[in-house]
């Protein structure tokens, strides 16, 4: 049941992605991106990842707002000159299709959907599930991993966000260079 629902949602996401790529109106493309993100959030919920579903939907909303802010009141239609030539698109599609065919056999070697490898071997995830609560005191095992076992990653994540915020602020400043002769 879960598998079929995910399958249908994924097909919808792929169709949405094709629409995003082919739509001339940029604002519609951005809104379609929001729809795909929403679908992804539902898939996360189906896959028993509610933490991720919440983060994904919140991030989808905020990136949608930022992208709409970037496109609205600006040039919102893709002009024909922005299209690549037909031949280059076909070549690229063929190349990607070839790549897909080449790696397709590899999917059969991945663990079967629904039977992950962590359950079979002595893996760290088993340890988290067994002792996460007693070691960290947090009943939410995902939070226990994010903020205790792998808190160093979370520091990195916060710093990545800090860096890109600072980057956006620094890119959008008005005076980048001082005028020759000015002292401050």
């Amino acid at each position: 049941m879960v598998e079929i629902s995910i399958f249908i949602l994924l097909v919808f996401m792929i169709i949405g992605m094709v629409f995003v790529l082919e739509m001339k109106n940029l604002l519609s493309a951005v809104v379609m991106m929001g729809a795909i993100d929403f679908g992804l959030s539902v898939i996360f919920l189906l896959l028993s990842a509610p933490d991720l579903a919440i983060v994904q939907i919140a991030v989808a909303v905020i990136s949608l707002v930022i992208m709409i802010r970037a496109t609205i009141h600006r040039e919102i239609v893709e002009t024909p000159s922005q299209e690549s030539t037909f031949s280059s698109r076909v070549v690229m599609l063929c190349f990607l299709f070839l790549f897909f065919i080449l790696i397709y056999p590899a999917f059969s070697l991945l663990p079967i959907f629904g039977e992950p490898i962590f359950a079979e071997s002595a893996s760290s995830s088993m340890k988290y599930l067994l002792e996460g609560m007693t070691q960290t005191g947090s009943p939410n095992i995902v939070t226990a991993i994010v903020l205790d076992f792998r808190a160093y990653d979370t520091l990195g994540e916060a710093i990545v966000l800090f860096t890109s915020v600072l980057g956006a602020v620094s890119v959008l400043r008005y005076r980048n260079r001082k005028k020759p002769g000015s002292s401050t």
């Binding site: 905020i62 939410n140 226990a144 979370t154 520091l155 602020v169």
Partner: protein, 150 residues
């Protein structure tokens, strides 16, 4: 820009508190239920952005300025780093260990459990909400006429 119509402003005023409350709830209970600092922080940032959209730039700048939100962002990041280093500076504890969990005992499933996890969640919530709000406000306040280079 003076914002949107009176209906939007009234509704935004009403639901602002609920959204912030929900965000804080998600941050504070991140270790007991789904959610956490990132999700809650983004939700709080959404409420700030909603107020900015409804009331316009000038009103928003009065409540939380560009510079202020940026400084809060830095305070949040410093708080996370400090909580990590707390273990490093205490004897016999490593970097990023759950110091409070090892020094005190807590009641499980209580809001004040799990040692420093809720504190890190709060710091992340502060950092993410103000950081994303400052990105948004810098993006929407950008005025090309003030650009001096080229």
């Amino acid at each position: 820009m003076t914002g949107m119509t009176i209906i939007v402003k009234t509704v935004a005023e009403w639901i602002k508190g609920f959204i912030i409350f929900y965000g804080v709830y998600i941050v504070l209970l991140g270790h007991l239920s789904p959610g956490g600092g990132f999700a809650g922080g983004v939700i709080i940032a959404c409420s700030f952005i909603m107020m900015e959209l409804a009331f316009g730039k000038d009103q928003a700048a009065k409540e939380l300025s560009k510079h202020g939100s940026h400084l809060l962002d830095e305070y949040g990041a410093l708080a996370i780093l400090f909580l990590g280093l707390l273990g490093y500076f205490l004897p016999k504890l490593p970097f990023f260990s759950n110091v409070l969990m090892q020094k005190f005992s807590f009641i499980p499933f209580h809001i004040l459990s799990a040692g420093s996890i809720p504190l890190i969640n709060l710091a992340i919530g502060l950092k993410v909400s103000t950081g994303l709000y400052s990105v948004y406000i810098y993006l929407s306040h950008y005025d090309p006429r003030m650009q001096e280079d080229e």
